[in-house]
């Protein structure tokens, strides 16, 4: 298909040593190569919709704007890695409580972006939340409940 | 897409007009020109490789010269097909005016662009068109002044 490379990428704590085409996007590696389909694609790989947002070494990145080979040697966390044995993360729980999602297609990206955002801004204003969400498009909710959920999660986190 | 520009070329009008009809000068001036053949005195066909934003494409097409009033004006019409990148059709009116021993060249381009190219957004197309025109005239002027040196 094209030139390939060996990579070692850790996803949600599990290491994948794989040979992949150089041209493979990180989002395709995550979704199609290792089968974690919680990360979504909603635009033409232009970084506009944010549905593919994951964490690279803890920081939110759009996985459609990266090649998988660029993640070689790095830690990736996807939405599947957010919940732990104790259950949902406070943000996931808040999205459920506040009805912060409808079709759920954009949700993974929003959760990943906001998890990172709340780490940096533990007590954000509504305005800050709305501005931090610019890179995530949601078509169902009108954002009202999303903003409320992020606020609620922040309230839990800052208690 | 429309573009109305003028450029001063440091050469007499007759020389500029002749050079604009010289296929070798054109071949060397057109950015990304891979091939340019004359089918007749007024019809050329060729291939150029062009990059517009993220799209790189090889355009194959032809141009026709008409309404020729040497050495002051003529019209170029042409179209090119760039496969999956899209297609373009253009009409350019060129007027050459004498200006203090040099030549003032006014050109008005009207282009219809289709396919993926058209969807890149008008701003990107305009910028690229201006940039390509700039490169063309830089090459063109350089060739003319080289020619000047060999003559003198």
């Amino acid at each position: 298909m094209s030139r390939t490379n060996e990579v070692s990428i850790t996803v949600n704590g599990e290491r994948y040593d794989e040979t992949i085409p150089n041209r493979m996007l990180l989002v395709d590696f995550i979704r199609e190569h290792i089968g974690l389909t919680g990360t979504h694609v909603g635009c033409t790989y232009e970084g506009a919709c944010g549905a593919c947002t994951v964490h690279l070494d803890g920081a939110a990145v759009k996985s459609c704007l990266m090649l998988a080979v660029q993640a070689d040697g790095h830690d990736v966390t996807t939405v599947e890695g957010l919940a732990n044995d104790d259950g949902l993360s406070p943000l996931q729980q808040a999205f459920n409580d506040q009805h912060g999602l409808q079709c759920g297609y954009c949700t993974a990206g929003i959760l990943m972006n906001m998890t990172d955002f709340l780490r940096e801004h533990p007590d954000p204003s509504e305005d800050e939340i709305r501005r931090a969400l610019i890179g995530n498009l949601c078509r169902c909710t009108g954002y009202v409940h999303i903003v409320r959920a992020v606020k609620a999660a922040a309230a839990v986190g800052t208690k | 897409m429309e573009m109305n520009e003028e450029i001063r070329i440091n050469a007499p009008r007759e020389r500029v007009f002749a050079a604009l009809n010289d296929i070798e000068v054109l071949r060397q001036s057109i950015p990304g020109c891979e091939k340019l053949d004359a089918l007749s005195a007024t019809e050329y066909e060729g291939t150029i490789v062009s990059k517009v934003g993220p799209l790189k494409a090889r355009f194959t097409g032809g141009v026709t010269l008409s309404d020729i009033i040497a050495p002051q004006s003529y019209t170029l019409t042409g179209e090119g097909k760039g496969g999956p990148a899209g297609h373009a059709r253009m009409r350019t009116e060129i007027i050459l005016e004498e200006h203090e021993g040099a030549t003032l060249m006014k050109y008005a381009v009207k282009a219809e662009i289709g396919g993926k190219l058209a969807q890149l957004g008008g701003a990107l197309i305009d910028r690229t068109a201006k940039k390509l025109a700039g490169v063309f005239f830089k090459n063109f002027e350089a060739l003319l002044s080289d020619a000047d040196q060999t003559v003198e």
Binding site: M1, T37, H40, Y105, R139, G142, V144 | A118
Partner: protein, 802 residues
Amino acid sequence: MASSEQVAEKPWLGARMARKEDLRLVTGKGQYIGDIVLPRMAHAVFVRSDYAHARIRSIDTAAALAVPGVIAVITGQDLVDDVRTMPQPVLLPNLPAKYPTFSALAIDKVKFHGTPVALVIARHKYIAEDASELVEVDYEELPVVTDPEAALEAGAPVINEDHDDNEIFAMTFTGGETEQEQIANAKAVDEVFANADVTIKKRFRVHRTGLTPMEPRGVLCDWSEADGLTAWITTQRPHIDRLALIDLLDIPADKVRVIAPRDQGGGFGVKAPFFRENVVIAHVARKLRRPVRWVESRHESLMNVGQERDQINDLEIAASNDGTLLAFRNHGVADNGTGETGVYWGFVMPFLGAVELPNTYTWQKADVHLRVAVTNKACITPSRAFGHFPTRFAIERAIDMVAHKLGMEPAEVRRKNLITELPYTSVTGEFYDSGDLIKLWDNLMAQVDLKEFRTEQAAAREEGRYIGIGYATGVELSGMASEVLVPMENQPGYGAATVRIDPRGAVLVFGGDAPQGQGHETSVSQVVANAFGTNPKDTVTVEGDTGTTPFGSGTIGARGASYFMSAVHNACVEIKQKICRILAHDFGVEGSYEDFEFANSEVVYLADPSLRKTFRQAVERIIMHPINMPVGEVGGLEATVYFEAPEQMVCFNADLCIVEVDINSGEFDILKWVSSEDVGNVINPLIVDGQMQGAIVQGLSNTIFEEFIYDEQGQQLTADFENYKIANAADTPNIDITYASTPCPHTPLGTRGIGEGRPASVPGALTNAICDALIPFGIEITELPLRPDTLWEKLQAARGDR
């Protein structure tokens, strides 16, 4: 454990219950079309025309076929023997129109930028994409028509060549069936206008925009000799798609199963039509005898679907000096695009838009004309506020203009003209079953102190600040009765549900529709818990699979809470009746349904509460131990019910917004947005709030940001989210949803279907607020989109005039 667990009694109906769907969706375990992978699955990419109108001279697939990994390349010619052309009867509404005949892959010519002309199938999607660029199509360009009015002129190039002209549909909506009656009506309307104190006449334009679900479309088809075709399709109506595939591919009915994936990333009407891509992928899977998947790219999606609105309405209103609305006259021209989309064909939307012109107001007379033009653009597809986004904008804007002319408060003019006696049949023949518009309106106005606002507004103007208030009302169809849906779309309107009780007490519900984010699993579980006195967590809902669900017309037109939920409830009641009969027999008492109570996961004989069984014991006895039964009874607990309402149902809404406009830049801020909703009894207010907030923001996004742009050559210039901007979180305000509901008398739970038409009130409310703010400049907005730059130009012109 299922329902044997004791739970505190909760009124589940009306509870703000967190959704059941969310657990899988927030953990990345949803299953969307792009997540379904079958062994040996091949990937398909469509080759689409980059001309808007051209003859196909030839298609050269050799280079694409030569790419290693490419399995097949097919063109329209390959479909000729195996796939019937559209339309097929199942995809035709019962409306007189000039339907185009077309092949799923274009054969002779392409009619819009993006027409599918070939399909490349490869082992990997990257290979399919690469190879698709090597398919060479030689086109001969034809004259392009992009303006609907120009398309209707004599001598315009005819796009659908099986017809004489570009008028796909035309209708006069009022004044009876015969020409004489219509002429008489037009004359009567003329008389009202001639004698009216005040009239206004304006041309209202709404651009091409619509809905763009975050998940584009997709189709995965598999074929086996034994079972035939299994098709996973992103669709709001799997049962209709199944019938279409049977007819188009000529496959026996027992050999086609359609499954809408459990999770779909939004629909909003966009996934309601039957699309040509479905049949191409199904054909290829059958031909290649292997699974083939096509997942639409955003680029393709923006070029092909989600385009709607796009109407010009020349509207005139006659009113009295006291603000009474008398009559209106409307000449609409709608841009249909090609018309090559099954079920709706484009014109069904503007048709309904014209019918809904009267909105919530009383009129003595109306004269309504509509012409729908075929153009070289993508066929318009249904989008929430189906056809009436432009007409509602026109009527709501025009009412403010009347108020301005009379020097009256727009709020007063509205209240004065609201329909007060329901049921009501509008001047265009739309039936409104019930509701209370005065209560709805007064609730809206209670959210603001208008007098105080006017004082504040005057004071602000003194400081050079311009604030304004605007309103709009709306009516939406709560699903459609068969009486309406059969003539309109040739499909039944009833809701269908199968309720099956599991021996351990869980409740399984099967529905014939296919939600895309509406939270059916949650609402169904609340309806079931309400009926059986059990816990919502004990209910499992399955929808979208034609192999297991009763026939349904799909998740469209707010059919959920009106039709589907009513069917679920009635099926539960049928089961309860059986349980009661058998328990009465077991308890040795006389008694039927009314004599038992289902609560706290128990069934209790009311006359003697010592006679009781847990719900689980009761159902296990009937399902697992069907001995010693009453005469005529057999075991098992399952019911399938079809619910048809006795009347066409509607719900009502109203919006109020307050804006501030910067007169130096044309920019505006929405300071407040509050709604009032008459939506009947609410199953889950959290879900309804979300539906309304989302719909309102969709309306704002359509009004302010989104616009599909075609150039004169029919090139679609807005095929990504950089060029087709949809509103983000920072672009949009908080939305307050308030309720003034009237229970619906025609559904068992008093519910109404909600949310489909909801965006339609938005452009009127917003533009009315902006015009109210700018009254000193006399600015009247009549065109969308509403952008700061166009507003700035109007302001410059108006200030120059002063």
